[in-house]
Amino acid sequence: MSQPQMRRAVESGVPDNRQFLHPLLIKNYGNWKYHDRPRPGVLHHVSHSGDEVWTVRAGTQRQMDVHTIRRLCDIADKYAESHVRFTIRSNIEFMVSSFDKVGPLIAELEAKGFPVGGTGNSVSMISHTQGWLHCDIPGTDASCAVKALMDELVDEFRNEQMPNRVHMSTSCCEINCGGQADIAIIIQHTKPPKINHDLVANVCERPTVVARCPVAAIRPALVNGKPSLEVDEKKCICCGACYPPCPPMQINDPEHSKFAIWVGGKNSNARAKPTFMKMVAAGIPNNPPRWPEVSEVVKRILRVYKADARAWERMSDWIERIGWPRFFEKTELPFTKYLVDDWRGARANLNASTHIRF
């Protein structure tokens, strides 16, 4: 029997973006002079040529059904010259050539349920992951957890009332696909994996799994006469690194997989060098469908930051000024021994000075 004729892929790679650029962006490519923001959610760029372009930014749910995408296309065709782009935080941007078009475009977006904002010193959309919808190792959901939180933060998205921009992320496991952020919400497992010894030999490449463990807590073992793996539970840090290469080592636990909250991550080089985020809260339950305990901690941190930070201080700049003791005092978060680093390079995180704020 002959094989069916398969189409050979055209290895075209990344497409040329010029075919999708707004004509004004092509005309002024590399020749922009400055920008300002006439109102939250709107950017106004001015070229050295004198051309101007207005950009209206709106929030989306990122995981969009085709009908939502078509609705956004309808809006773009009717009000916005048919060109859009997406930001790294899944906001959609519409570029228009005259200020007259901004008002009706905003009205239409808001009427159709797409909040306009996310610019400047706002809380922008939350970078997130796949979660229960699609991931093979998720401790929680992503899109819906983000929806729940953005429902509560939408006023901060629509306005620019924060000291500086606030980038947030959520991640369904410690791999942290959501990334560094001013505030990050990440699953933190608290119990070692539960091993299904009947399956390990057939499913897992055991040396690979042993090598994957950051603390060398996994070793090959015969269990009930079958080759399997065992975990030294005293050494185990419950990171979940063994679970992707060995699904019978179930790390997710409806009860004991909790959330931790991290603050002060920053990618930008502006002012201080880029910073990693630090864990400041943990033990928060994984409580769908709206995760109210997570929202409570996040909103508390945001409230204190908004009231206390000075203009242009990102979360990390603010904490650098006030110090960690006052961060924990002001946010009323408990500073426990688990927040003191003992991983590689931990001494760099200790206070090797008498610089203490009283």
Partner: protein, 431 residues
């Protein structure tokens, strides 16, 4: 829809509230597709039990070894039959976006038509690696969906131990802070590594990311094995009209507290106009009839803060290019790593310049492929062997811009010191 919806009391609670609801979108798809009816059923089960129900597998398209994320349901009854049979397979196609994620409505509508026909109708703009994620196809649907997407001029991205899909910022297309042509660099580099994207054979993933300035909107420094971040070598440019306009609006307190005092290296000073001292490495600009700013550009670290605050009044210089950093990644398994500098500055204006960037990428990837352990990222490999060995291998000389400080311990064999000094002196004489 032929199939009745499962009750979804938990998901239903995510239809209210001001933020766009992804559940409402799924329910709209479920009106036409039993596939999505069952997907909602399984998702509701996850909400109830707080467990995930997908496992991986092997699904791909003809000729490629990656780019599809296979998902098979593990929500099964006692007889091992899927509880939600219509959604028993839910694979994702990762598709590389155009640089800067620009689209027109015509191309977006074509994508929706393809995915309505061959898939679930759910598309994510974009995944964390930058891919357009066409989420939810059966094993049968994957190839025809890919064929149609490929005919549009789009191609699959990376998955597994491969060069991955890349991202670049809005860049020169709509940003005055752009320091190189991000889109062309992005496309040139990535399209030079398509074999390593489509046929995974590296020790682990390798990511490039492209940000046009040190604001690093693509988060490249902590997410990319090789980060290309725009910068400039000459003086900050100034525009007196815009500087005066800014000052008239914001006043002296903001100028002092938000601009001058926030410069990390104290390179900016506020002076009375008569005291400004222009010079080869100095930028000066009047903000009023009495005061002006003076910036010593040798002290400036190109952090972007003053330029962000006074956009247009202050701007990146004209001698632009990029800094290349290598080794960024998140925790697993040795702890978080930022990318660190391996090339303090390179021009990225001509095809020749970009060819050098591709060549550097190739050298790093070749060395990574030869020397990294399985599942070890570039940054972890460098941590294990030392940056000096890494630089030696890819033929780059050390530079003080690569370190925060020289070493603080004496534990190093130094018998080669005199030869190294002689080499540096010889280079100086040539230059």
């Amino acid at each position: 829809m032929t199939k009745a919806m499962y009750p979804t009391p938990m998901l239903d609670q995510l239809e209210s509230g001001p933020w766009p609801s992804f559940v409402t979108g799924l329910k709209r798809l479920a009106e036409d597709k039993d596939y999505v009816v069952d997907l909602l059923g399984q998702l509701e089960l996850s909400y109830k039990t707080r467990k995930g129900y997908w496992k991986g597998g092997t699904v791909g398209v003809y000729g490629y070894g990656g780019g599809v994320i296979p998902r098979f349901t593990e929500a099964k009854d006692a007889d091992n039959k899927p509880l939600f049979p219509n959604a028993a397979e839910f694979h994702t196609l990762r598709v590389m976006p155009p640089a800067g994620m620009h689209y027109n409505t015509d191309i977006l509508r074509k994508m929706t038509d393809i995915w309505e026909k061959h898939g679930s109708g759910l598309i994510a703009f974009h995944g964390q690696s930058g891919d357009i994620m066409f989420q939810g196809a059966t094993s049968e649907g994957v190839q025809p969906a890919f064929d149609a997407i490929n005919e549009l001029g789009f191609d699959l991205g990376g998955a597994g131990p491969a060069v991955r899909t890349s991202m670049s910022c809005v860049g020169a297309a709509r940003c005055e802070q752009s320091c190189y042509d991000e889109a062309t660099a992005h496309r040139t580099v990535i399209n030079s590594f398509l074999d390593d994207i489509h046929r995974p054979s590296l020790p682990y993933k390798f990511k490039f990311k492209f940000s046009g300035c040190p604001n690093d909107c693509m988060n490249s420094i902590q997410r990319a094995d090789m980060a290309v971040i725009g910068t400039w070598r000459d003086n900050i440019r100034t525009d007196e009209a815009l500087a005066r306009k800014w000052f008239a609006k914001h006043g002296m307190n903001e100028l002092v507290n938000d601009v001058v005092a926030r410069c990390p290296t104290k390179a900016i000073r506020l002076k009375e106009l008569g005291e400004l001292e222009p010079g080869d490495s100095v930028s000066t600009v009047a903000v009023s009839d009495t005061h002006g700013l003076e910036i010593d550009n040798h002290d400036c670290v190109r952090c972007m803060h003053c330029i962000n605050v006074m956009t247009g009044a202050l701007a990146p210089g004209k001698d632009k290019g990029a800094t290349i950093l290598v080794g960024g990644k998140r925790t697993l398994k040795i702890g978080d790593l930022m990318g660190t500098v391996v090339v303090p500055f390179m021009k990225l204006e001509t095809d020749e310049d970009r060819a050098k960037l591709v060549e550097l990428g190739q050298q790093v990837i070749d060395f990574f492929a030869e020397n990294a352990l399985e599942h070890e990222r570039t940054g972890e490999m460098i941590e294990r062997i030392g940056i000096v060995n890494f630089l030696d291998a890819i033929g780059i000389e050390v530079d003080p811009s690569m370190v925060s400080s020289p070493r603080t311990n004496p534990y190093v064999r130094m018998d080669g010191w005199d030869e190294e000094v002689a080499k540096i002196n010889a280079r100086k004489q040539v230059a």
